[in-house]
């Protein structure tokens, strides 16, 4: 929120800065980072618990309410986090405007596809009896 002497009073009140989105990305990156810590730890434990189990057991565990909810939260938080992170990397390193635009779109497509595929699979496992 770099609001200096050169900005208008309205801009100062809005506090959004030159990117017009304020500190939203910064905040969401931190929010999802904090959420990711317990969720990823739980994810690792779930993964270890699933080692050496056959398909039927894996389906049963992944589809159980508590595990499914933890994994769904994990996917939502992780994909939101990685979309912002990759956007920052693209904005930092890609100078060409056209390439940047294409990559930013591809970033969103990739993240939404991964999120939707994972959520869909988990819901399928939960509702398949």
């Amino acid at each position: 929120m770099a609001v200096g002497r050169m900005s208008t009073p309205l801009a100062r009140v809005r506090g959004l800065g030159p990117a017009h989105s304020g500190t939203d990305h910064f905040w969401h990156q931190r929010l999802t980072a904090v959420a990711n810590v317990p969720l990823i730890i739980a994810f690792v434990f779930i993964l270890i618990a699933l080692l050496r189990r056959n398909h039927a057991a894996v389906v049963q565990i992944l589809g159980s309410p508590l595990v499914a909810v933890i994994l769904l939260l994990c996917i939502i938080s992780v994909t939101a986090h990685m979309r912002i992170g990759m956007q920052v990397i693209i904005e930092d390193y890609v100078q060409d405007q056209r390439a940047k635009l294409v990559l930013l779109m591809a970033n969103t497509f990739f993240v939404v596809a991964v999120a939707l595929a994972s959520v869909f699979a988990l819901l399928m496992l939960s509702f398949k009896v």
Binding site: V44, L51, R52, H55, G85
Partner: protein
């Protein structure tokens, strides 16, 4: 939007590589690299969940890939990247509170992140193999 003028050749500021590599700087780069690796690694997670939802045969096919040397190597690297990025992220959250910027603290935090991520990776894999018997 006619022809774009050829840009004037101005001197560029020397970038990262004129500096002596420091641990904090390498850790910053590692944070981005591990983040990128985890980003593409989510394909593996999505594949795994879809395979489980698809049925025993698809799940077994994925299992045989993960069980190959190549698959295990990817999984091992993924474990380290995940833990390193997580601990590096916690370091960033500490910095967000305004703490840990002193010359001693930031060095200590960098070493702790590295030692922590490597040892936790080894612990998880030892536990995975000794107590559970590894992937299958």
């Amino acid at each position: 939007m006619t022809d774009v003028k050829t840009p004037v050749e101005r001197p560029l500021s020397p970038h990262l590589f004129i500096y002596k590599p420091m641990l904090t700087m390498l850790m910053s780069i590692a944070h981005r690299i591990t983040g990128t690796a985890l980003y593409f690694g989510t394909l593996l997670i999505a594949w795994w969940l879809l395979a489980a939802a698809s049925g025993p045969n698809t799940y077994a096919a994925m299992g045989s890939f993960i069980n190959s040397i190549f698959g295990r190597l990817i999984l091992f690297g993924y474990t380290w990247a995940l833990l390193h990025h997580m601990l590096g992220g916690i370091r960033h959250l500490i910095w967000d509170t305004g703490r840990g910027f002193g010359p001693y603290e930031r060095e200590w935090l960098a070493i702790a992140t590295l030692v922590g991520s490597i040892s936790l990776t080894i612990i998880i894999w030892v536990v995975g193999y000794l107590f559970v018997g590894g992937p299958r």
